[in-house]
C-alpha cells in the first residue's frame, strides 16, 4: 500500500515526474506499467532472498577459474554463473509469481480498478464482493487458492533440485 502511494507521489499528475511524463504522453499510473512497477517492487526481494545465500555459498572460485582460463565476462556469466544458479533463479521467479498473484495493496493504489484493463484477480475479488456478487467473488478466490496449491507443488519440486548440486567444491 505504502509503495503504491510512493508510486503515485512519483508518477501521479501532481507527482515529481508527472509533468514530464504527461509531456511525453506516457501513462504509468492507472495502466499496465504501473501495475508491473508496483508488483516488481514488492516481489524483487523474493528473488534476491533466494539467490544471495546461494551465490554466497558457491563463492567466486568458479568464476575466477573461468576468467583465468581465458573466458570473458559474458562467457563467464552464461557458461558458469547462470547454470549454477538456474534452480535458484527459477525458485525466485516462482516465489515472485506467488506474491504477484496475491498482491493487493500497492497494485490497488496504482491500478485505478479499470475493469478489463487494469484489474488483477485480487482486485476483482474485492470489486465483485462489494457488488454483492458473492458467487463470482468466491469462484475467483477459489481459482486463486488453486493457483496457490500448484505453486506450492512447484516450489517443493524446485527445493529438491536446489538441495542437489551443492557441495562439489565444498570443503
Amino acid at each position: 500500500m505504502i509503495s503504491g502511494l510512493v508510486f503515485v507521489l512519483l508518477f501521479g499528475a501532481q507527482g515529481y515526474f508527472g509533468g514530464w511524463l504527461r509531456g511525453h504522453d506516457i501513462q504509468i499510473l492507472f495502466a499496465v506499467p504501473g501495475i508491473a512497477l508496483a508488483t516488481t517492487f514488492v516481489t524483487f526481494p523474493f528473488v534476491a532472498r533466494a539467490l544471495i545465500p546461494l551465490m554466497q555459498e558457491q563463492g567466486t572460485q568458479e568464476e575466477e577459474a573461468a576468467i583465468s582460463l581465458g573466458a570473458s565476462g559474458l562467457q563467464t556469466f552464461f557458461r558458469v554463473t547462470l547454470p549454477n544458479i538456474k534452480w535458484g533463479v527459477l525458485y525466485g521467479v516462482l516465489l515472485c509469481n506467488a506474491r504477484a498473484m496475491g498482491e493487493f495493496g500497492a497494485v490497488s493504489v496504482v491500478s485505478g480498478h479499470i475493469r478489463g484493463e487494469t484489474n488483477t484477480m485480487p482486485l476483482l475479488v474485492e470489486i465483485l464482493y462489494n457488488e454483492y456478487q458473492f458467487v463470482a467473488a468466491f469462484a475467483i478466490a477459489s481459482l486463486l487458492a488453486m493457483l496457490a496449491l500448484i505453486t506450492l507443488i512447484a516450489k517443493t519440486i524446485l527445493e529438491r533440485h536446489l538441495d542437489e548440486g551443492h557441495d562439489v567444491n565444498d570443503h
Partner: protein
C-alpha cells in the same frame, strides 16, 4: 618464463597482507611459497595470477609488465584449493572449457579440442572418467582434473593454491610425488602455496618462507632446513624447541643456571635458543647442557618422544630413536649435534645467531665409563647481525653474516658410540 615481483604491497584495511615482497622465479622452476595462514602467500599467488591487484609494486613476466594485463590475458593456469570445477559440466567439458571460450579467430575445431582434452586426461591418468560429473569424483581425482583443466590453455605459468590442502594424508603424499614427476615432464614455471613444510621441502626446487607479509628466507629445501636465516624460519621449519636464555659475557644462561654452551663474541642480553627436537639427547645427570627430569616417554613410529622438565621450570619434548635407552628419571639433556642457534638479544633489537654445525653427538647410554660424548662441543659456523631497522624498511640483504670458527673438534670425535 621468469617471473619478477618487486616491492609488492597489498593491504586489506590496516592489515598488510604483503609488505614489500621481492621475488624472482626462474624459468622452469618449481617454487614453494611456505608460511603459516595469514602470511600473505595466497595473496601473492593471486596477484601473480591477476585475480587480485596490489596497492603498489611491480609484477613482470619475462620482463614485460603483467599488471597491465587482466587475468584473462596472462595465460596463467590456476589450481584452487577447493578445485573450483564447474559442477554442471562433465569432466570432459571442464577440461575443454579453456579451449571453447577462446575467441573465434583462434579457436580450434571440435576434433582438435577433443584430441587435446583426451591427451590431457591421459596425462593426468583419468581418461576413463571423461563422462562423469565432478560430484562423482574423489578429492584426488577432482584435483587432477583441475590441473588438467589449467594445463589445457598451455599456460605460461602454473600456479597452485594449496593444491593438496583439502585431501587426506595418504592421497596428498601420492599426489606430491605425482606433481613432481609431472613438473619434470612438462617443465612449466610453477609456484605452489602450502602451509605444509614437508610438502614444500619434498616437492619444490626452491622454497620461499613467508611470515606476516614478508619473505623471511629464500633457498633450497636444504638451505632453509639446515641454515635457517631468521628465528621465525628456525621455529617454523622442522620441530624446534625454543628456550628463552640470557647471554652474559660469553656465557649462556637458562634461568640462573649457566649452560654448557660456548657463546663468546655474542652480544649480551636476552636471546632465544633454538634446537631441533631430534638434535637433543638425554644422558646421565651432569653430562649435558641442561639438567632435568624425564617425565614421560611415548613411542610412535620410528621415534620415542620424551617429555623433560628442565630444572629451570620449562618443559620440553625431545625425539630420540627407538633404540636409545630413555627412561623416566633424572637426566641431563645435551644439545649434541646439531644446529642450535641463538637469536637475540631481543631487548636491544639486535639479532645475533650462531649455529652449531656438525652432526654432533652424544648418546645416552647409562654411563658406560667411556669418554662421555654428551658434553657439548659447540661449533660456530656463522654469526649474523641484523641492525635494528624499522620493520617496514628491513630487507633481507641487510642481514650480515660472518663465519666464525669452523670447528673446534673433528667431527669424527663426535659420533655417538654404538652400544
Amino acid at each position: 618464463m621468469t617471473i619478477e615481483v618487486k616491492n609488492l604491497v597489498k593491504k586489506f584495511g590496516s592489515f598488510a597482507a604483503l609488505d614489500g615482497v621481492d621475488l624472482k622465479v626462474n624459468d622452469g622452476e618449481l617454487l614453494a611459497l611456505l608460511g603459516p595462514s595469514g602470511s600473505g602467500k595466497t595473496t601473492l599467488l593471486r596477484i601473480i595470477a591477476g585475480l587480485d591487484w596490489p596497492d603498489s609494486g611491480e609484477v613482470s613476466f619475462n620482463g614485460e609488465d603483467a599488471l597491465a594485463q587482466g587475468a584473462r590475458e596472462r595465460h596463467v593456469g590456476f589450481v584452487f584449493q577447493h578445485y573450483a570445477l564447474f559442477r554442471h559440466m562433465s569432466v570432459f567439458e571442464n577440461v575443454a572449457f579453456g579451449l571453447r571460450v577462446q575467441p573465434r579467430a583462434v579457436r580450434k575445431d571440435e576434433a582438435t579440442i577433443r584430441r587435446r582434452v583426451k591427451e590431457l586426461l591421459d596425462l593426468v591418468q583419468l581418461d576413463w572418467l571423461a563422462d562423469r560429473y565432478p560430484s562423482q569424483l574423489s578429492g584426488g581425482q577432482r584435483q587432477r582434473i583441475a590441473l588438467a583443466r589449467a594445463l589445457a590453455i598451455e599456460p605460461r605459468i602454473l600456479l597452485l593454491d594449496e593444491p593438496f590442502g583439502a585431501l587426506d594424508a595418504k592421497v596428498r603424499k601420492e599426489l606430491r610425488k605425482w606433481l613432481r614427476s609431472l613438473h619434470h615432464e612438462i617443465n612449466v614455471t610453477s609456484i605452489f602455496v602450502t602451509h605444509d613444510q614437508e610438502e614444500a621441502l619434498e616437492v619444490a626446487n626452491r622454497v620461499v618462507v613467508m611470515d606476516k607479509g614478508k619473505i623471511e628466507q629464500i633457498g633450497s629445501p636444504d638451505d632453509v632446513y639446515e641454515t635457517p636465516a631468521t628465528a621465525f624460519v628456525h621455529g617454523f621449519i622442522g620441530e624446534s624447541i625454543e628456550l628463552p636464555v640470557q647471554v652474559d659475557g660469553g656465557v649462556v644462561r637458562l634461568g640462573d643456571r649457566p649452560l654448557n654452551l660456548a657463546a663468546d663474541g655474542l652480544v649480551s642480553g636476552a636471546s632465544k635458543l633454538f634446537v631441533r627436537r631430534h638434535d637433543m639427547l638425554v644422558g646421565p645427570p651432569g653430562s649435558g647442557a641442561f639438567e632435568g627430569a624425564v617425565q614421560h616417554v611415548r613411542n610412535f613410529g620410528p621415534v620415542q618422544r620424551a617429555e623433560v622438565a628442565l630444572s629451570g621450570g620449562e618443559t620440553i619434548e625431545i625425539d630420540a630413536p627407538r633404540d636409545r635407552d630413555c627412561a623416566p628419571g633424572t637426566a641431563s639433556v645435551s644439545i649434541p649435534a646439531a644446529t642450535a642457534s641463538l637469536r637475540g638479544p631481543e631487548r636491544v633489537e639486535f639479532s645475533s645467531k650462531f649455529t652449531f654445525q656438525p652432526r654432533l653427538v652424544c648418546n645416552n647410554g647409562p654411563s658406560s665409563g667411556g669418554p662421555n660424548p654428551c658434553a657439548l662441543r659447540p661449533q660456530f659456523s656463522s654469526l649474523c647481525f641484523s641492525p635494528a631497522v624499522p620493520a617496514t624498511k628491513r630487507r633481507s640483504s641487510s642481514r650480515r653474516c660472518m663465519p666464525i670458527c669452523r670447528s673446534r673438534a673433528p667431527s669424527s670425535m663426535l659420533r655417538p658410540p654404538r652400544s
